[in-house]
Every structure is written in C-alpha cells, then in structure tokens.
Symmetry: C2
Subunit: 269 residues, 2 copies
C-alpha cells in the first residue's frame, strides 16, 4: 500500500521507549522555519505511538521555543497519566541539543465518545470551490516564503484574499477550502497540521509577514469525514505586539471537528 506524501513526512521511528527519530521535510518550510502545524502532527504521531490504545488527540498544547529547520529531529515522550479513557503525555521535539517545542497532550478514542451534538457554532459560509481563489494564484513572493503551499490545495473565500492584491479587508478573518495534495484523507492527526496552515490572519489586517507562534492549543472533537475541509481563522484581540488566532475546521459532513487557538507575535514592520 502506497504511503501518502504527508504520512511519509510526519513519520516517526521508535529508537527506544519514549524516544523517536523524525526527519523534518524541507517541503514544509514557511517564513523563518518549518510550519508549526506540521511539527505538531509529527509530535502527535509520536504520542500516538506511545499510547496506542488511546489513538486520538483530544487536546494538545505546543509551546514553541525556537524555529525548527529541515532535517533530522528527535521526539521524546513521557506518559504523565494513563488511566480510564484518556492518557496525558508530555512530548518534546529536539534538534541537536536544543528543545524546539515542548508539548502536553491528552489522548483518547474519538470513536468511543457519545454521539450527541448540540453545536451552535455556524459553519463557514464558503462559496462553491470553483468560485474560490486557489493558493496557486498567490503572489510569487508569498509562494517563495511558503514552499509548503505545494503540499495542499487551499481555495480561499474571495472576500478573504484582498490582502493578496494590497486590499486587506481589515476584518481579521480568512477562510478556505482545504485538502492535502495527494488525496490523503483527513484524520485526527492531520487536523493538527491543518489548524496552522492558512496565512496568519494578520494578512487580512494589512500586516503581511511571518507571525511566530508562542503557544498553540488544538482540541480535536470528532473524526473528520472524508473529503474537503472548511478552515476558518479569526482574531479579535490584537494588542501588546501579539494576537490570538482562533481556527475552526469543519468536515464535509458539516461537523466542527477541531478548534484551536494560538498566541502569536505580530509581524514586524
């Protein structure tokens, strides 16, 4: 069975109990480092291997200490508690003798949760895909800044790409259709990547540039159905040189499958 590009990129190999080798792929470079969502899924993959009977991230919090670079990396995991229906695990991503990310996560089995849904959040109102703006039309300097854009298809809401032509809406919202490029279907691990793939929502505020993440917490609330995802970024509190960025991911069945919030630094300039 062929392995998708994405699964090959987030693969980890156990070298000892709680110790894994990874190879960060240059295909996920964006701005000054490797994409934080790709790194989170790589960590998430090692955590899954650490507590295999609790296969799904329910909550994961990554604290980003410094930028990662393509190439070899090490992931260490330590079980903090494994009992009942959930396990909590600490994990770290290392390159050389530097910790790049330190994380905590609680894993469980999404398939074992009660079925009831009383969600009041509203699905992003995205036009049909053929009326959206593909990321392949991004300005050349954005493409150069983000080679990772070749890893997926991203079709932007036409009202949320004014920044690409110098006319940001100023609302602080970006939404898009999303799928991985080689047709790899979404799953709870890939959602950890998807929460951090859209351009920083600050683009829509007229502040282009890289926005380093200090902290990102993602909650995965259900296994995503197959097909295209809808992804929405928004911010409501830009202050003190930082902003919060909330991400929602909705699956093709119209379910809110993941929510994340990150605290990031405003781009300079």
């Amino acid at each position: 069975m062929a392995t998708s590009e994405y699964d090959a990129h987030i693969a980890v190999t156990q070298t000892a109990p709680g110790d894994f080798a990874a190879d960060l792929d240059a295909g996920w470079v964006v701005g000054g480092g490797v994409n934080g969502g790709y790194l989170l899924a790589t960590l998430g993959n090692a955590i899954r291997a650490t507590v295999p009977d609790k296969p799904d991230p329910l909550s994961i919090s990554g604290y980003y200490l410094s930028a990662s670079v393509p190439g070899p990396a090490r992931v260490t995991t330590e079980v903090k508690r494994d009992g009942g229906s959930v396990a909590t695990v600490a994990a770290e991503l290392w390159q050389g003798d530097q910790t790049k990310i330190t994380a905590l996560a609680t894993y469980g089995d999404l398939a074992g949760l009660p079925a009831g849904v009383e969600t009041t959040a509203e699905e992003p109102d995205l036009p049909p895909r053929d009326r959206c703006v593909p990321n392949t039309m991004a300005p050349e300097e954005v493409q150069r800044l983000a080679p990772m854009m070749e890893r997926f298809e991203m079709l932007f809401h036409p009202e949320h790409v004014g920044w690409a032509v110098g006319q940001p809406s100023g609302k602080g919202v970006i939404s898009a259709w999303f799928r991985l490029k080689d047709g790899r279907e979404p799953d709870p691990i890939s959602l950890l990547t998807v929460v951090d793939l859209l351009p920083p929502v600050t683009f829509d505020l007229g502040r282009p540039g890289w926005a380093p993440t200090l902290e990102l917490t993602a909650h995965v609330r259900a296994k995503p159905a197959e097909g295209w995802l809808k992804v929405r970024h928004a911010t409501r509190n830009v202050a003190g040189g930082m902003f919060e960025e909330d991400c929602e991911i909705w699956d093709s069945a119209g379910r809110l499958v993941a929510q994340s919030r990150q605290l990031a630094r405003l781009p300079r300039g």
Copy 2:
C-alpha cells in the same frame, strides 16, 4: 502590610530549586474537588518565583489529571527555555505521589509590551452592578456545592441566571461582574483564577452539575486596571460528551486582559 486572604491561599514556599510547598485551602472547594483556577494560580505563583525577571504569565496550559483535595501540596517547576524576553517553564502540582496537574507556561513582562491595541472583540454588555444578581442569592444546593463562592463577589447578568430558577436561556452564555472579597485588586496571577470561577456555562444549557476540566489554556494580555472585572463564559461546541468553554476577562478600563479556553466533560445526567 496585611496579606489578602487570596494571596495567603495561593502562597508557595520554596523548599529547593524548582520545588515548592503549598497548602490548598478548603475555602476553594467546588463540586468534587478544589477549583481549577485557584490551582492554576498556585502553580502560576511557583512559576513566577522560578523566573522572577519574567513576572507575568503570557500563556499557561494546565492539564488536569485528577481532582485535588484541600491540604498540603507540592509544586515542581523546570525551566525549558529562558532567553530574550520570555521564559517557558513546565510545572506540576502534586499531592502525595500523585500528579494532579501538569502544566506548561510562557512568562514575560507585560509592562514591557508595545502599547498598541486594535481589539475588535466587544466588552460584555453588563447592566449596572445594582441591577445584577449577586452570587449570595444562589440556591442553597449551589452554595453547598461551592463554598468557594464566599471568596469573591460575583454579580450575574440578570438574563444569564435563569438556570438558578429552572429557566436556563439555552444560549450557552454566562457573564458577571467580579471582584475578590477582601478588595484584593486583580493582577496577572489572579486572572488565572478568575478564568475558572463562573459556574460551568453548561448551567445555562440546562445541564447543572460539575464539569471536570481536561485542559485549560489562559492568555494574559495586559495587566488589569484596579477595580471590578467583567467576566464572560460561552460555549459553541457541545458534542461527544464534551464542551469547550471560552472565558474573557475585561478590566475596569475596558480592556480585554485575559482570554481562556477549556475542554471539559459534560456533567452527567
């Protein structure tokens, strides 16, 4: 100088590098354990003592492993990175040989951040305090469940207390004025308590009962001004036996000073 009740309750005493003794006060009991926000501030106090030149929590994520009880506790801290303007620290709260909470936090100096504020979030629309409903009017069974209500004044928006008389609004929103009882002014550490003090927002959905927190992340975005705080809880995704609860805290100067999100289990029944 007299120490406020609150400062006495969250006090920690260093016993060795990265090792602190605390005494969890019975006054913070709610439902089946000690309030998670009080515990987070106790952890936060030990982290502050660990990196004294970075006095303020910018982000803290607590993973709640099991309920704490009043009495002696131990807090351990480990610096993950301390460089530039921020420090990231792991911390754990122990009772006996059990880890009760494992946490990560990034601390810095809120006074040193740029002044710019472009927040689009809107301040909770609370009626004047003399038209709100004080927590002292809570039903007797709620007071019995939550002795911690004697630690503070909480004046609810009259439209958000229908649950107290069997008429929850069903909207999933609760907001209130707040201050600590003995006049202790808010600061970045006390905000870590305040994000988890209102009744679970599920009360407003007609689901009374204790809602155990799995994970809570708080971002402190500015030092709060003196005076009353406005606190707002909301949920938009009740599904799979869990819900997310977002909290906002606004200070008396009308600034959004803290945002938190927690993932909690729905009350049983």
